[in-house]
Symmetry: D2
Subunit: 337 residues, 4 copies
């Protein structure tokens, strides 16, 4: 079987993560080219990893007939346009989340991808996390029983810069969007959302029109209920937990820690805080999502994490925003889809 | 110092718990009499514990001038009336929760108690649980920092009988009321409630007009947010957990278990389920609340768990009911208080 | 069924523990009398618990025909003599450990008890601890498989006084004796002992001819191997753990803690130290051993924790002393038995 | 700074582990050549990882003047000879453990290395494990206080083949050797060893003259005591734990697990078994030891895990064998060194 030839568009942090995963851990694929509007970044990655071509202009990647698939790792506002062009060029697509902050543009991507008959996988990497994937497996094996309640905790170690906050689309589209996807992945389709938002970490975030602390109640279509709690800052690091309560059992995923060492002395029994940052916690999941993408393209399998998942997570974020704005529960059907 | 002379009204399960606590563990008090409309029950407890008098009619307890304080452990619908009469008789009062299912009758109790100048402690025993009390101590020492989010999980091992469900006042007044009190004890005063309710355990509960699964979002007056999740049945027993997230730390109380033994074999690492029933989990807390009551009366200290706490927990339950009925967030100020 | 009438000889700490257990938790028995050479101590306990008679001279207890059973809770050097006299008086006996520090005197007790046909239970209370008893149950159910290795950790929070050390018989007879019994209870009969002893906590203990830190290797008759590690002082409290490794599984008992609360902040995840003192850790086990004794006597059942168990634990302690003295492994058969 | 040029001798399992670590994770080094007596194995690794040269005869590696350092990953019986020749050729050396099963040959290696002035690091990778290295850091920071007791548990998931057992040197030289090194790394220099050995897993291992279960008592020169327990088979996987008990605190390293998920249902609270195999558990440690080796060579730093450590671990293994053979404690000074 020939290797999948991949082009990477965007050589920033997440582009580099994927470039290394492919180079070091996915022998079924190879990177044929990388582009970045900051071309020196693309050049450095190309040299470090032995990638044969690098460009400033991503059209060079799209126009390379050897390339079968592209990874869209550029800034969010460019995702939809590049995805449409990539589909037109017949490339399979791995697109970082969010696809876009508007329903309309995501629908254009869906249209383009459907028309071109190419595959598109969304970078909801947390679905591939060892803990959360294990809970999914337990569910699929029937060990949880009927889902009754799902609880998701997601807290960042530090808030982003105020500049970023201003263009982020707000906490629900920028941060909760991952948890909305997890609620759909582990739980079910959502019928209704009710969101509380507060400013408890940094008043500047409030001045920028956003919140830093939130709690979102969910009603699922199958009757189950759920809750997501978010905060932009936890003193102890990156807090990523999940609990599923069903008729047969309750499954929960605790945080990962740097070591399993504990020290018992006069002041108590002290063990590690959670891993501090998303790159430490989720590194393996980035490799695993990419391996699945490569496998789906090479072996013509159905993509599991689709652009539709990206659309639904966005709609849930928009519903949460509307819920806060109008101070009432909002049905997902109220949001254009 | 002379011993506190106590009369117990109601010799059922909880009356017996208090009778044993006092007899075996609280040397500062002694039980002078016990009454129950089922007089054989009162007689048996009196004989087993060496209580000198037992009655069918609780007025005999109220009319005994040697008795300084009464415990009201009769059925809920009698609490308020007995409390008013006990106040009039100049007895200090320990009253099981709920005081009543209506605001009006609780206010009559407050009036009677205030007029008589007697003390009244409510039996919110979970405040005295070793785990939750430890979190309160940590908060008071400033180790949690500013409260940002509080999460309470409370699930029963088995639903009550349908007969009981029908007269219980519903899940919010019967079950969540404890969690509302915990939210106020560990958290802060509540401004607004939004409740989701579902029937996932037993359709008969739904037919009786109640829910068996619920999730309640809370907005506190200090800006913090909270969530309570309840279920009438957990396959693994009695699930009683609490998490407080503050600016300095997150504190959480895990369940108590029968042993600390774990067995690692081919099928994984197996440790104990939570203690199955509230009498096992909370036994020490019943003794501790009673010791505090005795101490407050004997030494004329201020009661910490007051009838006002009973009133507020009821109002929160009524707000949750209204939230479900009207499908919207409900401010506590909308509920008569 | 009539209640068992018990006489208690010795009203010190452990005598009081048993007196309270019987009074409060064992309705099948009642205490008829208590004696202590410090008669005011006996008087106080009698008054507090409503015991009808107290004496300075224990012979009054032995001579009381109403009394069916005696608890020997006096100082160690008096245990054997009193036990022999109690047997002669036809009383069933619960005797605190150690029965004696010599094999010869224990054998006299065995002879006296056998001749009189009375029951004698030894106070190896740890067999009744909820954690260790659970491991025994798992073994009996076959869940551990063939025993291969057993590991016992036993560390005290503080060393005893030097005065006590001097009369204690040394760490192996005073402290390890409990662990030797546990090794036989959970493990099997021991064939050989090799002991290392060190002075690492307090040089005064060394000057008194004793050690404060020890590690004892065990060879069991069934081929399994084991290890006990002891220390007279652990900065974090009372450390009582057990691990059993078998062909099917490994079971381990962790320490009990005051609460199940953990706090995660900048400095890590802090949970409780173990319970600090043996009375906290083992309180329930004292009640449970007494309940078993009462049941065995009342219902003529076979005693499970016998004077033979006391003898074997002593012989193991003597073997460990000999091992250190002669710096070699010592077979249990080398010790008079 | 120029990259370190490395030649790898031996392309089997551990040679491949190191080859991947260097290629993917250590940019300061590159592999110039690889050899294996099974040349197709060397060829495959070379092709997969882009190594420019591969050989059947390791002398080609030693004779390549571009190569600065060699990794000796061939079979144990060839380690010492190749190490001597590599030293003569002026190559720095990373040598897999054990260097040899005899003291005499290790001393020849020490002589050769000293004479040539090259560095030699031994592959005691467990020193670089995240858990054990963390305990070392805590010790170095003084958080444990004076070392009093060290306990090491090391159990394999499955015994090796009988063919391997016969040439392995026995459990003490093949398996415990890692734990002896850990005892010296975390603990101190050892003065005396007493070993118990048993056959409890497979009688064939006994027939081959070896044991499959062992418990080794250690006396350290600083007065502390220790114990190692080993088994060739644990039903639940690879059990690698460590406990250090000091005057200030006790630190312990629990096993690593595939996930942090737990499931609570009717049958208890089930979490993961340990990682099953040494490649999963210790993968990161292989990379970290190699990174240290590269750093020491490139920057002329002192090697931390030396051939002397290999010698001492071997001597401890030989002392344990002698202890079992002569059924007595054996001083390390009795073993040629």
């Amino acid at each position: 079987m020939e290797k999948l030839k991949i082009g990477i568009i965007g050589a920033g942090r997440i582009g580099q993560v994927h470039a290394k995963s492919i180079t070091y851990h996915i022998p079924q694929a190879e990177i044929a080219a990388i582009s970045d509007i900051y071309v020196d970044g693309a050049k450095k990655v190309a040299q470090d990893l032995g990638i044969p071509a690098y460009y400033e202009d991503y059209h060079n990647v799209l126009n390379d007939p050897k390339i079968n698939a592209v990874l869209i790792c550029s800034s969010t506002d460019t995702h939809a346009d590049i995805a449409c062009k990539a589909a037109l060029a017949g490339k399979h697509i791995f697109c970082e989340k969010p696809v876009d902050l508007t329903v309309a543009k995501i629908k254009k991507v869906i249209e383009a991808v459907d028309k071109a008959g190419v595959k598109l996988q969304i970078g909801f990497n947390r679905r591939y996390d060892h803990n959360f994937a294990q809970i999914k497996r337990l569910e699929n094996k029937g060990e949880i029983g009927n889902l009754q309640t799902i609880k998701i905790t997601s807290r960042d170690p530090e808030p982003p810069s105020i500049e970023y906050v201003k263009v982020s689309g707000g906490i629900f589209l920028d941060m909760t969007v991952h948890d909305f996807d997890m609620a759909r992945f582990i739980g079910a389709e959502v019928e209704e959302v009710y969101a509380n938002a507060a400013v408890m970490v940094d008043p500047e975030i409030g001045k920028a029109g956003d919140a830093d602390t939130a709690l979102i109640s969910l009603k699922f279509k199958n009757g189950a209920i759920g809750v997501i709690d978010n905060c932009r800052k936890a003193s102890y690091g990156y807090d990523q937990r999940l609990e599923v309560f069903g008729s047969k059992a309750q499954a929960s995923a605790a945080n990962d820690t740097p070591t399993n060492v504990s020290v018992i002395g006069e002041n108590g029994n002290i063990s590690d805080k959670p891993l501090y940052f998303f790159l430490e916690r989720y590194m393996q999941s980035f490799t695993d999502e990419m391996a699945e993408f490569v496998d789906c393209v090479l072996n013509d399998k159905q993509i599991k994490t689709t652009v539709y998942d990206g659309l639904e997570a966005l709609r849930l974020g928009l519903a949460a925003k509307k819920s806060v704005a109008e101070h009432r529960p909002v049905k997902l059907s109220e949001i254009e889809g």
